[in-house]
């Protein structure tokens, strides 16, 4: 009897495990776009039937909507949804509506791959993501294997677009670093420059490195380069003091706005008032709670998007976004909005139809992406080349009287 019980428990336990796996398998069996190349044909017919019935392009998005980086993921999710709604209202891509689904990755590469697989089970044909660089690199490995078209709105690390199926909307980190150094040098803004950057952040250290190497060719000198890490980002008096002692006239801040707002207020307490110069991460500094915006007066930043720009497209976008989500959109939102429109433009150029499988769409989109020209929120006349990098002019803005003003 006892033996029987033991045997039973083994059987039950394995049955349970099997059921766990099988359960999830069956639930999504209908939308097996999934498998890699060999099974693709079979999968294609399945997807074909599926989406033709629905008659829609399935675009997936991935980004952090929970956790510490949720701000960026939510901005992308909202803006992409906004763009999808607009496109659908206007008749969709080639007359076919878009279905958009966004999955959370908690800013974790492992979770990001899970999210990607979930979306594949759903029947995704094109991916608009992921939002953060680290996740984007991990997911790119899978999209390259599956030959899925990927357009990341804000994955700025170099490796995000190393495969030919991946494109991006934002500038790459090195691009921003080099452009900043070039801008400071060409306009002779300062001769002694200090840098404060986050060494634990890919975005920040990526910009810093390129900035430093480009600075060697420019007529200014980096007098101090101080790092902080994510674990220690509330007190910047040491870094500021060093910059001050070195006599820096300009402090370059390739960081996000939360830390930058602290740096600005601590600098003003110290009575140190150099020119502050930042990248797109500084966008949003005027909306920080309890931050005296007068401190940000004169701050320069190189950003592709400013919510206060005068053009009609930006105005419309900002108004609708505010109405719907009660928040001023940041640069991430703008990137996502442009990403969806870039997919639309390339889709129309390539003449894709929803009954094509993801490989065929990817092949068509890859070519079409290099042929389109997009007038978007983050740049006018944006073009892409086969490497996946966008070609657009960086805009420098300065904060004057509490608003971003183009320089």
């Amino acid at each position: 009897m006892k033996k029987f019980n033991k045997v039973m428990s083994v059987v039950m336990a394995s049955a349970m495990t099997a059921a766990l796996f099988a359960g999830c398998g069956n639930a999504d069996a209908g939308t097996q776009t999934a498998d890699s190349a060999p099974a693709a044909e079979e999968a294609a017919s399945e997807t074909g039937g599926d989406t033709a019935a629905a008659g829609a392009f399935k675009i997936g998005g991935i980004g952090p909507t929970t956790g510490s980086a949720a701000v960026y993921g939510l901005a992308v999710q909202n803006a992409a949804q906004l763009a999808v709604d607009e496109i659908n209202a206007a008749g969709g891509i080639n007359g076919v509506p878009i279905e958009f689904k966004f999955e959370d990755d908690e800013c974790d590469a492992e979770k990001s791959v899970n999210a990607y697989n979930t979306l594949k089970d759903w029947g995704m044909q094109m991916l608009m993501g992921t939002v953060t660089s680290g996740c984007s690199i991990a997911v790119a490995e899978n999209t390259a294997e599956d030959n899925m078209f990927q357009l990341t709105p804000s994955g700025s690390a170099v490796d995000c677009v190393k495969y030919d199926n991946a494109f991006r909307v934002c500038f790459s980190d090195p691009n921003q670093g080099a452009a900043s150094a070039l801008y400071i040098g060409e306009n002779a803004i300062a001769s002694k420059v200090a840098v404060i950057y986050d060494s634990s952040d890919i975005y920040s250290s990526g910009i810093y490195e390129k900035f430093t190497s480009e600075a060697a060719n420019q007529p200014f000198e980096i007098v101090s380069a101080e790092a902080f890490t994510a674990d220690n980002k509330t007190d910047f008096s040491v870094q500021l003091q060093k910059a001050k002692d070195a006599g820096a006239e300009l402090v370059f801040l390739p960081i996000y706005y939360t830390e930058a707002s602290l740096i600005l207020s601590q600098a003003s307490t110290m009575g140190y008032s150099p020119i502050f110069f930042g990248c797109d991460g500084l966008d949003g500094i005027l909306n920080v709670e309890n931050f005296d915006t007068s401190l940000a007066e004169g701050v320069m930043l190189l950003t592709p998007f400013a919510a206060d720009a005068e053009d009609e497209l930006t105005q419309n976008f900002v108004t609708t976004y505010k109405e719907k989500f009660g928040d001023t959109p940041n640069q991430f939102a703008a990137d996502a909005y442009d990403a969806i429109y870039a997919i639309k433009a390339a889709g129309e150029k390539a003449g894709i139809t929803p009954d094509m499988d993801m490989n065929a769409i990817c092949e068509a989109m890859k070519g079409a992406m290099t042929e389109i020209t997009l007038d978007g929120l983050t740049g006018v006349g944006m073009t892409w080349d086969a490497s996946g990098e966008p070609d657009k002019a960086p805009k420098a803005v300065q904060i004057k009287d509490g608003v971003y003003t183009a320089m």
Partner: protein, 352 residues
Amino acid sequence: MKKMKIAKTTKNNLITYLIVLFAYLAVQVLLATGNISSLMKGLLVPLCIYVMLAISLNLTVGILGELSLGHAGFMCVGAFSGAFFSKCMDGAMPDGLRFFAALLIGAAVAGIFGILIGIPVLRLKGDYLAIVTLAFGEIIKNLVNVLYIGKDKNGFHFSMKDSISLHLDPEGQVIINGAQGITGTPHDASFTIGIILIFISLLIILNLINSRDGRAIMSIRDNRIAAESIGINITKYKLMAFSISASIAGVAGVLYAHNLSTLTALPKNFGYNMSIMILVFVVLGGIGNIRGSIISAVILTLLPELLRGLSDYRMLIYAIVLIAMMLLNWSPKAIEWKEGLKRYSKKEKGVK
């Protein structure tokens, strides 16, 4: 009587092996028939990783009876050393051999760190191991974030500042790039390799538990003074259990590094939360119960993914389910109820 008892543990271990084997076969059947979603397919290797982490931590927590809060730190050490080796040797060695060597290196490096930490700390009485391992996990994570190593034809370059100060040749390659970690590790991990590694870990741990050494380790857990009085070398046995546990975690780390192409030491994957997560697997599965650790690691890894349908609420539900499961498993009332049920069924059998 004695004979029966040995037979019982053997049978018990056999069940554990069989569960793993059955799970493997079931998945293989599902894969062959194409009845498995891509989400599940993507989760197979992470499942193996978490199972290995859970059973290895159970060796420290359950068998040795010491609390370790830095298990993710050992995983991190293993992951980075294994990935570093793979990155350096990519192309220079056959893939299979390179991956095997990477696994060994990950295990060795994590084991060495385990010994280094263990030598001073395991001599102490009390909860010092918990504090030191907690610090170790955090230090390792931060250390890796400022580590820059590059390779060119002159050999290796090392820096703690930034990748510019490596002074590499133009064709040189940065292998560990500070906060950006290691990118482009070859994708060698597969479910079969994961299962084989689980089997090896199980073999090591279960055989250790049932050996003379294992009994010595458990006697230290149960009564240190009594164990000392019968001449057991406490530090040696503690160190043995702890370093084996660390090196299995290191192997899990190597598997992790070869499953994703980007390896960064974030609080999310190698931080304090991860260590606690592994501890939760162990506690929920039953401290000292290896089979329980396997099952709870599988369930708790799958749960957040299966709850994706609930979007952002899933984190909330996950927490609630966790609390409910803990209560159901470990509250005195629940245990009493389960005991009652067992006694009742035994009585039934007796009547028959």
